[in-house]
Amino acid sequence: MKTSSFSYVGKALPRIDGVAKLTGDAQYTDDIHLPGTLVGKLLRSPHAHALIRNIDVSKAEALPGVRGIVLGKEAPICFGILPRAEDENALAIDKVRYVGEPVVGVAAVDERTALEALKLVEVDYELLPALFDPYEAMTREDVKIHKESEVANIERRATLEFGSVEEGFAAADHIREDTFFKAAITHAPIETHVALANYRDGKMTLWSTTQVPHYVHKAISRVLELPMDRVRVIKPTLGGGFGGKGEPFSYEFVACMLSRKCGRPVKIVHTREEVFMSHRGRHPMHMKLRTGVKKDGTITAVEFQNLLDGGSYGSYGLVTLYYSGQLLTLPYILPAYRFDGVRVFTNKPACGALRGHGGVGPRFAFEVHLDRIATDLGIDPVEIRQKNALKPNTMTLNELRITSCGFEECLEKAGKAIGWNERRGKLPRGRGVGIAGGGYVSGANNAIYFNPMPHSSVNISVDRGGGVTVFCGASDIGQGSDTMLALVAGETLGIRPDTIKVISADTDTTPVDLGSYSSRVTFMAGNACRSAALEVRRKIVPIIAEKLGVPEETVQIKDGIASAQGHSEKTLTFAQAVVLAESKGTSIYGSGGYTPPKLGGSYRGAGVGPSPAYSFGAHAAEVEVDEETGVVRVLKLVAAHDLGLALNPLAAEGQVEGAAVNALGEVLLENHDITDGGQHACPSLLEYKIPTMLDVPDVEAILVESVDPEGPFGAKECGEGSLHPSIPAVVNAIYDAVGIWLHDAPITPEAVLSALKKGEQP
């Protein structure tokens, strides 16, 4: 399909909720006010690792204005986003595992009273030794963060092996080994986490800042022991997620528990510091790579070891662990590959999923490693990437099915835009260019918990005025999925997308979508929406054809007006057609679902990594390194991203630009560091350095269209994969500028100066 054959797809479409967001009308969770709402607050542990001996709330209860207090033992059922790692409680019961872990929930008439009440709660802790270093945690049998861990504090060891690694290395002309460290970063959406719970007549309604209403729905039902049909979860307008609102959290349960106890609505709004404590961000990764290559740069074998510092709970960590191993087989052909990874518990806030989940650390490491290999061999970094590039319609050695793949085009376009041939190695000292590649999933083939349902479902209803409403459980978290649904429905039906209403992310009224994670929404909900809209079309076209007296195949609808090919005088509005249909007793609605095809291998771990499609990308950066101060400035960043097809180029560019800037923060500024006592090193937007406008260049997004055979109109992922390559591109550019290799990210001026001083490789 060519873009030009579409009515709306491929053209810039401003978001359908844009005006509401620009006028202050959009309702975010904290903007919802129910009469009589109490303020909920969480008492959090000041200790990184301790047993709870006793909790005395009598003084707090006696404070005037306090309406209810809840404790962990009132909701002892565990939860966790992964069925294999349900290791959390709504509130800690007998043990706390990180500084900031919620222990008691209080509801009071106002915020100051609630905070006062927290001070009156007396918790008797018995301190335990706390572990912050994952290497230490791996061996300390005497200190168990979770008693279930079999070996010390190892949550899981994952090993993968494909092809003959030993033969691969034996066949290599050159073998290189490098170690890397990638620190944690956190999501830092500008909206903090908020929940508003209202328990009335045996039914719980929860408005929450969640990316995954369906999983929250299930978890609330289980933990509060309410049937699912007695629980309704609504995601109002959401102020950014990036993965940080991608699983059920303590505050959601506690708001519900307090509302049930007090018989009044309860709202919990996180302070910025509490958002940092909730975390679930990038895992710190300690990585070791060993790669064998032929003289011409052809890869013969790769060995990858990864130690993931998981923090105190499971979260998405097992998926992170496997992703980190599995996705290394994109976007290059690896003939033999071995992965050995471990996720370890430490007494820090749990790490989980963050934009680019699983692949970011390994991608940084591998792309820098690959540049070093190219340098060893005297090969151009672009050339070594072209040489090993993955091709369309192939299978990786770990059985990831590759359909569309525009990686080589991305490399070419990014290289061209940065002026690779004219500039690489030719700029004055202090300036340099670098390039890197990447690839990412368009949704995970397997749901987080096993179930036979579609991954996404959409209902479309049409009212008598011809108005079209799309119902879908998908969560617009700012990325624009509501607008995408309107666009897909509009294109399919021939109706202007900006007139289509979208009702989403409400478990009572919208059919299930698994949520906004793993870059799955455009692909999966988009396909479900297309299929629902096709059903509407199937119902209405015969009626139009009959009325116009033309064959069904000739009916076309554009901007809400139906006509017949070659008979432009014969027209009928979509609204008239709907009325006509209803008068014939046919009510017009459609529903559709999307279930990915069965994919992937049968080995242990094969479940993580398969996706119905993969995005690819290549980013090129130009940097300036100040050799006196160590400060690195990115002057230019080009992000070429193969997204299959740009349904809405405006939105797609926005995703790529946003992701690339996140990456620039990640490589040069941000470090979600924890101090030796377990406290956050920088729990504020002052000390945690997300980039300001003055810190980043105008990212140049290049959208590459490989047209995916299974994506909606050919589209696939674009908001996560577009983060990965920027990080190594900057690091590789620093080498070009001043001849130093940096293996630890983020890159600090101190590290640049010390590497310059050493004058040789680390």
């Binding site: 810039a12 401003p14 978001r15 909720d17 844009g18 005006v19 967001k21 620009l22 006028t23 202050g24 009308d25 959009a26 309702q27 975010y28 904290d30 903007d31 006010h33 999501h187 830092a188 959406p189 500008i190 909206e191 903090t192 307008t237 959401l238 102020g239 950014g240 997620g241 990036f242 302070t271 910025r272 978290i477 700012g478 990325q479 624009g480 405006l650 939105a651 560019e653 926005g654 630009e657 946003g658 992701a659 690339a660 800037v661 996140n662 504020s684 937007l685 002052l686 997300i690 300001t692 406008m693 003055l694 980043v696 105008d698 990212v699 997004a701």
Partner: protein, 157 residues
């Protein structure tokens, strides 16, 4: 309680506030003007920006009592009925809004810039908006939007 008289979005109002109440609390909780956002409550993010006598200030660090006698404009006060302010329109059309949480503060800061400097270059725009953090957009389209708004500004504002 302190009685404060101020003009909010063109309407003179009188409201009782606590001594320790911030303007952000008053706007959101007493006046129901929830378009003004709170991202940090400590002056670090800019999402609570409102205009005080035409200048962008952080409402989370302004005492409500200090609004006495001043003119406050919040995001709710920019559009004239159905007609968006040129900055709002440009943000919409240029794709400068994603999650929208930084948007009210960005738009008001941009409006104040264009009110005093209708022809800023890209660097000036970035400087003026540099205290407003956005985690979604990567800023490119926000700066584009301000440039677009500037083009229509003289007749539009």
């Amino acid at each position: 309680m302190i009685i404060v008289q101020m003009t909010v979005n063109g309407n003179p109002i009188e409201v009782g506030v606590g001594d320790e109440e911030t303007l952000l609390e008053t706007l959101r909780q007493r006046l129901g003007l929830t378009g003004t956002k709170q991202g940090c409550d400590l002056g670090d993010c800019g999402s609570c920006t409102v205009l005080l006598d035409g200048k962008p200030v952080l409402s989370c660090l302004t005492l409500a009592a200090d609004a006495q006698g001043h003119e406050i404009v919040t995001i709710e006060g920019l559009a004239q009925g159905e007609d968006l302010h040129p900055v709002q329109r440009a943000f919409h059309e240029a794709g400068a809004v994603q999650c929208g949480f930084c948007t009210p503060g960005m738009v008001l800061t941009a409006k104040a810039l264009l009110d005093t400097n209708p022809n800023p270059d890209r660097e000036t725009i970035k400087g003026a908006l540099s205290g407003n953090l956005c985690r979604c957009t990567g800023y490119v389209k926000i700066v584009n939007a301000v440039e677009i708004a500037a083009k229509v500004y003289p007749e539009g504002a």
